[in-house]
């Protein structure tokens, strides 16, 4: 069985999701992979969460990235687009797509509770990332969508079927909140259940009123959301969707990477590739004793770096074994941040 390369994995994929803990260069790796794929003539869009200014510069972003893709460069018939996820806007667009009643849309998107959902309800950011991915995946302008997921353990929560948000918006929850209205007068505000009254005493009535107003306005839309969530889940588990785990050799990052690999396994998804970033380069040591004796300080430095490189290789070994036979790409720690196009281009070459 011949092992694929990371580029081969990406080339046969229509979606690549990069996951890993923060500070491992996940955003940079996503950008470099998108650039490398663009060079093969594909039209690629990279979805980032919050790129550092220097990386945005390296990508050639001049203004601010928004929730709609911006074309950054083209080469060889390929195109590189980028966008930054705005969960709130994505959610609002989704609501608009499910209602023909503009008054209903207005009631929902101006509700304080609705605005809180995208900023505060656990998993919503991730769900919106998945929703955006689904939208871009079906957009004829793009051949490949590269997603840089948020650096939290929750990043893969969107894999939960049928989705936490959908359960949250479910009609049944609304029934628990509100006592059934008598006489079929559904439009009239239904009586509030004792639980809700107790909660209102704890957190304040206005807070609870917002929530109830939201669920009332949302009524009838939950079915559409559920169907959509199923389609999104199908895309996420499709064979042309590949999961790439990014890590450094640092213990905390390795633990997180292992967590992601296991989490994918529970969904029967194999990690398609592993990128180990920020490795100490292995320069080797001088075999020439005379040089070593003549330049003891330099020899000691080379020894120290070689030891560091060796101990890193040792700590990453279990992770490399865990993804076998998927490809592993090793990237060296760079002396400087990836802050210009040349540096990103160099990184793209290393991935190819």
């Amino acid at each position: 069985m011949t092992t694929e390369t990371l580029m081969q994995v990406a080339s046969r994929s229509s979606v690549v999701l990069c996951c890993g803990s923060g500070g491992v260069g996940k955003t940079t790796a996503s950008a470099a992979l998108a650039l490398a794929q663009m060079r093969t003539g594909r039209r690629v869009v990279v979805v980032t969460i919050d790129p550092a200014r220097r990386l945005a510069d390296a990508l050639g972003v001049t203004g601010e990235l928004g929730n709609q893709p911006t074309l950054l460069s083209s080469e060889n018939g390929g195109e590189l687009w980028a966008m930054m996820l705005d969960a709130n806007e994505t959610f609002a667009n989704l609501v608009q797509g499910y209602s023909s009643d503009s008054a209903q849309v207005e009631r929902i998107v101006t509700n304080r509770f609705f605005r809180n959902i995208s900023s505060s309800l656990g998993g919503t950011q991730e769900y919106m990332a998945a929703e955006k991915l689904f939208e871009l995946h079906n957009d004829p302008r793009f051949d490949l969508v590269v997603v840089d997921t948020p650096p939290t353990r929750k990043a893969l929560n969107f894999l939960d079927a049928p989705g936490r948000l959908v359960r949250f918006l479910d009609h049944r929850l609304y029934r628990v909140l509100l006592a059934p209205a008598r006489g079929g007068l559904r439009v009239v505000a239904a009586a509030v259940t004792p639980i809700v009254r107790t909660i209102a005493r704890v957190v304040g009535a206005s807070v609870v009123d917002d929530a109830i107003a939201f669920f009332q306005a949302f009524e009838g839309m939950d079915e559409g959301f559920r169907a959509r969530a199923q389609q999104v889940t199908q895309t996420l588990t499709s064979p042309t969707t590949s999961y790439v785990v990014v890590s450094s050799a640092q213990k905390e990052a390795l633990d997180e990477a292992q967590f992601f690999i296991n989490r994918l396994k529970t969904e029967n998804i194999a990690t398609a590739a592993l990128i180990i970033n920020r490795l100490t380069p292995d320069f080797g040591v001088s075999s020439d004793t005379q040089t070593t004796n003549n330049f003891p300080a330099l020899a000691e430095n080379a020894n120290r770096l070689a030891q560091r490189a060796a101990s890193e290789r040792l700590s990453i070994a279990p992770l490399v074994a865990a993804v076998s036979p998927s490809p592993v790409v090793y990237l060296s720690l760079l002396p400087h941040d990836v802050a210009d196009h040349q540096a990103l281009s160099l990184l793209a070459d290393q991935l190819s």
Partner: protein, 281 residues
């Protein structure tokens, strides 16, 4: 040494992912234990702790969901609490009042501090970006919730955060441009919007060796030269980042060098912290 640990009873450690926040939290707990103090290490995101409990160190996990459920149970909703969780109403409450879970986690930490659960409480806090939202939650809820127990809780936590003898935030960074920029943004946001005192900054994984001189007599193709050039460019980048940090954010710092052996990183860092803390005073 004890002066440093006596200066604040709670230290919330925060920093961008990958800077070694959990390692530093564990090392800090160990350094306090070595100074003869009892410490309580609180983990917030469900990751296993890097130190195990000893006679001096207690490790405890606090999750937002647990804090919320516990709060319901202690506020007359015990009977309903299971139903609240299974019906999803807990999520409705957390969404209706954003930050309520963060507030309750902080409330729990505050309660542990109040009952003097240990000489020092070290919180392995959320990643830097989220640290601001996390610590802003009490203010936001205090402003939005008109009355009742949550408002009282928010007020108590605000007092806790504003008192430097009870609580300080220790920011951790690497000597690199991106984490340094993020640390500075976080530091200003915490001072301006939360009003919490900042402990000395921890700069982690600094190259210990100074710049190397590369003599002209050595063969330039030798691996010793490539290794030395790599080392030198790292040292220069780190020096630049550290000086940038100090110019833009004049706070004392604790500088930790790259762990020498992988097996005892925490002990090594604890030793370094102890000697750095001594130099502070």
């Amino acid at each position: 040494m004890n002066n440093f640990f006596a200066s604040s009873r709670t230290i919330i450690v925060a920093g961008k992912g990958g800077v070694g926040k959990s390692t530093v939290s564990a090392a800090l707990a160990l350094a306090a234990a070595q100074a003869g103090l009892t410490s309580l290490l609180i983990e917030l995101d469900g990751k296993p702790s890097l130190v195990s409990g000893t006679s001096h160190i207690t490790v405890r996990h606090i999750s937002p969901a647990d804090a919320l459920t516990e709060y319901f149970e202690t506020h007359g909703l015990a009977r309903l609490s299971k139903r609240l969780v299974s019906s999803g109403i807990v999520d409705v409450v957390a969404t209706a009042a954003p930050g309520i879970d963060d507030l309750l986690v902080l409330g729990k930490i505050k309660a542990l501090e109040r009952e003097r659960a240990a000489d020092i409480i070290i919180v392995d806090g959320p990643a830097a970006g989220h640290a601001v939202t996390f610590l802003q939650a009490p203010r936001a809820l205090y402003d939005t919730v008109g009355s009742g127990p949550i408002r009282q809780q928010a007020q108590d936590v605000l007092q806790f955060l504003a008192d430097p003898t009870r609580c300080q935030v220790m920011l951790v960074t690497l000597a690199e441009a991106t984490p340094v920029n993020e640390l500075i943004d976080t530091a200003f946001a915490l001072e301006d919007r939360v009003g919490v005192a900042l402990a000395p900054i921890v700069i982690n994984a600094i190259e210990e060796q100074p710049l190397l001189e590369i003599p002209s007599s050595i063969e330039t193709t030798s691996p010793l030269v490539t290794a030395a050039r790599f080392h030198n460019s790292r040292v220069m980048q780190q020096t630049e980042s550290i000086s940038d940090l100090h110019t833009r954010l004049p706070l004392p710092s604790l500088r930790l060098t790259y762990g020498s052996s992988a097996s005892s990183v925490i002990e090594d860092l604890a030793n370094q912290l102890r000697s750095q803390i001594e130099q502070l005073s």
